[in-house]
Amino acid sequence: MWFTSGFAHGVHPPESKELTAQLPIRRMAYPKEIVLPLRQHAGKPATLCVKVGDRVERGDKVGEADGYISVPIHSSAAGKVVDVDWWPHPDGTMAMAVRILVDPYAPQIPRPRMVPHWEGLSVDEVVQAVQDAGVVGLGGAGFPTHVKLAPPKDFPIHTLIINGAECEPYLTSDHRTMAEYPKRVHFGIRVMMQTLGVSKAVIGVERNKPDAIEALTRTIPTDLDITILPLTVKYPQGAEKMLIHAVTGHEVASGKLPVSAGVVVQNVGSAAAIAEVFETGLPLIERIVTVTGHGLTRPANLIVPVGTKLRDLLDQCGGLTADAAQVIAGGPMMGLAQANLDAPITKGTTGIVVLARQETRTERVYPCIHCGRCLDACPVFLNPSLLGDLARVGRYDEMTDAHLSDCMLCGSCSYVCPSNIPLSQLFQVSKAGLRRAQASAP
């Protein structure tokens, strides 16, 4: 296994995955209350379909999909709707959310439902079933999965790529999924391959997860052309463009979608979620979350009901240690620091990382010394040093010319900058500023 695929540039933050890499997935106990934001995916938020006082069973819809690029939201526990109001969202904003008091005596088995026999279904029916189950990309962005299963007809797809890179430090939820449920992953891939009409699938896995690679390789169905591709351990190996490059050798053209390169990329967790839909009929109401960090007492990989408040989840893991400083939803490179622990786990929450004080960034920023490290780190070959200079004086037009739009906010440049310049943070602000400027332009 000396051969691995990778990309130029990138960075090597300490992985810190050893905290949870070998901990089997466990189910967490139900919290007393769950909070389900109606917006947990890219696209339009779901529209509310319950009212205060309603009794819901586990798996019942509380929100309907609003159009094609949207998915429904289901209750992750049996209980009573007690409130529908604005609530802190892990993305830092407030979002309309359904608050459900969990019935402590309910056995929490889902209402019996028809498991569609997928092989008898047409493509459209599979896509519909995936949408109805509320499946979205579980890697963080939360793009509705069914949309990616029905790409526009003018883009012929030749390969399905499954993203099992999990390049963010600390996170191990995909790792554990692949190592413990390889068959489920393969079954999800089977459904997706059939739906997309492709004969080839590649699972990209960073080679720091040999047990996952071994488990997946051992269980490849004999009738499917599925390849397991070990990838170089490097951040951001799991970025869509980097992964496609590693698998196909082609660069997705700037500003274009992966379908233009003839590939569709889905996350490992989404594959497992699709499998679950067609195995048990259960919609996406729980997910595997890595709860970890040097500021947490008992790190774990847990099956967590969507809507569990961060506070409850952290309590189940023994709570924060004395030197805990920062709670991050997602990985430490691209995740969001949380101000309010009442925010819930959403479908896109890959992990909760609690950083200890000494791991957090220092405040003092020095001038750019033109060391060039950021250029050597940027996976899409931009010049973050130059972009940073432009960002600080708000020259957005020149930033556009310097390919700001190709920046994927991976944070590699900020990670390496010895002067501690918040480069990708500046780019995030610039992108927002640029969007505002464009929106207000005539």
């Binding site: 920062q326 620091a337 010394i369 060039g372 944070g411 010895p418 002067s419």
Partner: protein
Amino acid sequence: MSTPLVVTASPHLKDRDSTPRIMWHVVLSLLPVIAVAGFSFGISALLVIAATTIGALVTERGFGRGDTLGDGSAVITGILLGLCLPAGLPLWMAVLGGIFGVGFGKLVFGGLGQNVFNPALIGRAFLQAAFPVAITTWPAAGQSFWTLRGDTFAFPFTSAQTDALTEATPLGLHKFEGTLTPLRELILGTTGGSLGETAALVILAGGAYLAWRGYLNWRIPVSVLLSTALLATVMHTVDPTHPDAWFMLFSGGLMLGAVYMATDMVTSPVTNTGRWIFGAGIGVLVVVIRLWGGLPEGVMYAILLMNALVPFINRMTQPRVFGTRRRVPG
């Protein structure tokens, strides 16, 4: 929860290297070089280096933006400037060089990171222009440690009374008298010259340490030394009265320049291709100036000239943006 949570934008992790850490490591790696200078030129060497460093620090403190002494860059400028001066230089000139280097070489551009030219070399160029005699009076190596090598404590602006033992530098000897100093003497540093000229091996070791830590880009010194050696070999073959590659490499300030001055991150290119070009340019200029220029030594001007080209080199060597056929416009 008692402690408030830190909320900042991602990424939340940061590599441990910091700008002060890089700078202070450079200072650390220069300590052996200073020791060798002290060994060769005695107390005078240490006094000169102290004087340039004090000049640099006072200026940084007095005119810099805020509390910037801690980043270590002024100390580097001071030490490097000291290392390219002769041991017998009156101290008031050395202080002035430090002041000028940091003031006009760095602070007028806006401080650390903004300057185009290497501040130590700006200080050196100033001294060369202002005090052409004092700066080319080379005390001989190998006197006792406590011997002052020149009019060290001369009162400012009085004419220096040099009666110390002096010696021409190997490059000067070659240029003006046509004699070649043996390589062994060059490498061991038992020749006349500026403070840092006599410590080639220690300088190389310091550079190797910094390169290993990732605090110095090895491409620049390798490119400088390779191109110098190549061109010198070609010239030597064409006309054997020109010195050979070994003499070129180990004489004058080439080692110090290649390892410590050309690699200053602020004033060198940010791309690897650019670094090769930059280094090669310096090497070629050094040989050209040494062979055909009016001065025996050319490292300072070669680096300053290439410094001026850095923005251009950066622009020409930007990598192609992923998924496009285009470079980022510099």
